[in-house]
């Protein structure tokens, strides 16, 4: 099949504003958008820039705005995207070049929620045991690959870049509800400030965008609830 890629390009060193480039690519219906982007970069226009690494939906490098909604280029099959595919960088972060955005602020938010185990009790001699239901409690949020698709699909984040964002909350949720972790209170405190979980308006764009199928809004809702009931 023949597909046309309409790619929003921007080189801050040369361009005053973003512009649309069109490329015709011959591809199989079962190819992924990433294959088509590679075909452009390798055989038509080497100046096209985008991030990719594993190409199998697990490294989280190639999240972008595909036909108007966020997805991973390596998981989006051409047969589901139509003959003309629009590709843009994710919204809400500074464009470094073409489809690459500056993710530093994204990872700053991630670090803010202390995404690591915190323990204060005496370290046990053996591992900290956990029952299957206790593990199940936060299973959904362990799947995050930090691609940024959720945060950059969120109108609350677009309106207020200070909002900690769905991805950081998902990663906080992963520890808040882990029975082995003892940093629950400090994380909840961080998420209770004005740019924390309360910015979420249950719009569900993050859930639609998540390539890992995490129910992001539910995780945010559970953190909101933990905050609401913690002092009762």
């Amino acid at each position: 099949m023949k597909v046309t890629l309409k790619i929003k390009r921007f080189n801050p060193e040369k361009d005053e504003k973003p512009w649309w480039a069109e490329y015709a690519v011959e591809a199989e219906p079962t190819d992924r958008l990433l294959d088509a982007l590679n075909a452009v970069k390798w055989y038509q226009d080497g100046t096209l820039s985008y991030r990719r690494s594993c190409a199998h939906g697990i490294c989280g490098s190639d999240a972008m705005l595909i036909n108007g909604s966020n997805a991973l280029a390596c998981k989006a099959l051409l047969k589901n995207l139509g003959d003309t595919i629009t590709v843009e960088p994710m919204r809400g972060f500074r464009v470094v070049k073409d489809l690459m955005v500056d993710l530093e602020p994204f990872f700053d938010k991630y670090k803010q929620v202390k995404p690591y185990f915190i323990t204060y009790s005496v370290t046990p001699e053996k591992e900290r045991l956990q029952s299957p239901p206790e593990r199940e409690r936060f299973d959904d949020t362990t799947k995050c690959i930090l691609c940024g698709a959720c945060t950059t699909s969120c109108p609350s984040f677009w309106a207020n870049p200070e909002y900690v964002g769905p991805a950081a909350i998902v990663n906080a949720h992963r520890f808040i509800f882990d029975s082995r972790d003892e940093g629950r209170e400090e994380r909840l405190e961080i998420l209770n400030h004005r740019d924390g979980v309360w910015r979420c308006r249950t719009i569900f764009n993050c859930v639609e965008a998540c390539p890992r199928g995490i129910n992001v809004t539910r995780a945010i809702g559970e953190v909101k609830q933990a905050l609401m009931y913690r002092k009762l």
Binding site: G68, S69, R91, F93, R94, R201, I203, F204, V207, E208
Partner: protein
């Protein structure tokens, strides 16, 4: 970073995004009406003549169509508000978020269609 207004609307969201946009629009709409309503009731301070003349504006056909739109806005805002309350207090319902929105749309249609016909029947007479 700066997101332009059209970029909010060109993101291809689904039910949840539509619910949010409509909730905002109806909320602002109802708020603007309330402001106007505060002004018209305050006119009573200038005596019954001024007040009656001002309130007579509400009987104009355009106002009456506006009234039907307002009723729809209040109804949608209320129903979707209940949806949001359910989602916020019982996060486990978030897996059925689309069904809840379908419920809002369904209930809205059931209540609003007869209501709008009743309110706008003067247009055909």
């Amino acid at each position: 970073m700066n997101i332009k207004p059209h970029e909010y609307l060109t993101y291809r969201g689904r039910a949840g995004m539509w619910a949010w946009i409509l909730h905002r629009l109806t909320g602002v709409g109802v708020f603007v009406f309330l402001l106007a309503h505060i002004v018209d009731t305050a006119l009573i301070g200038w005596g019954p003549k001024v007040y009656n003349e001002a309130v007579a504006l509400y009987r104009h056909p355009i106002s009456r169509v506006g009234e039907a739109v307002l009723a729809g806005a209040v109804l949608f805002h209320a129903l979707n508000g209940v949806r949001i309350i359910i989602l916020d207090f019982w996060p486990q319902t978030m897996t059925a978020e689309k069904k809840l929105f379908a419920g809002v749309v369904g209930l809205f249609a059931v209540v609003y269609i007869p209501m709008a016909i009743y309110m706008l029947r003067f247009l055909v007479h």
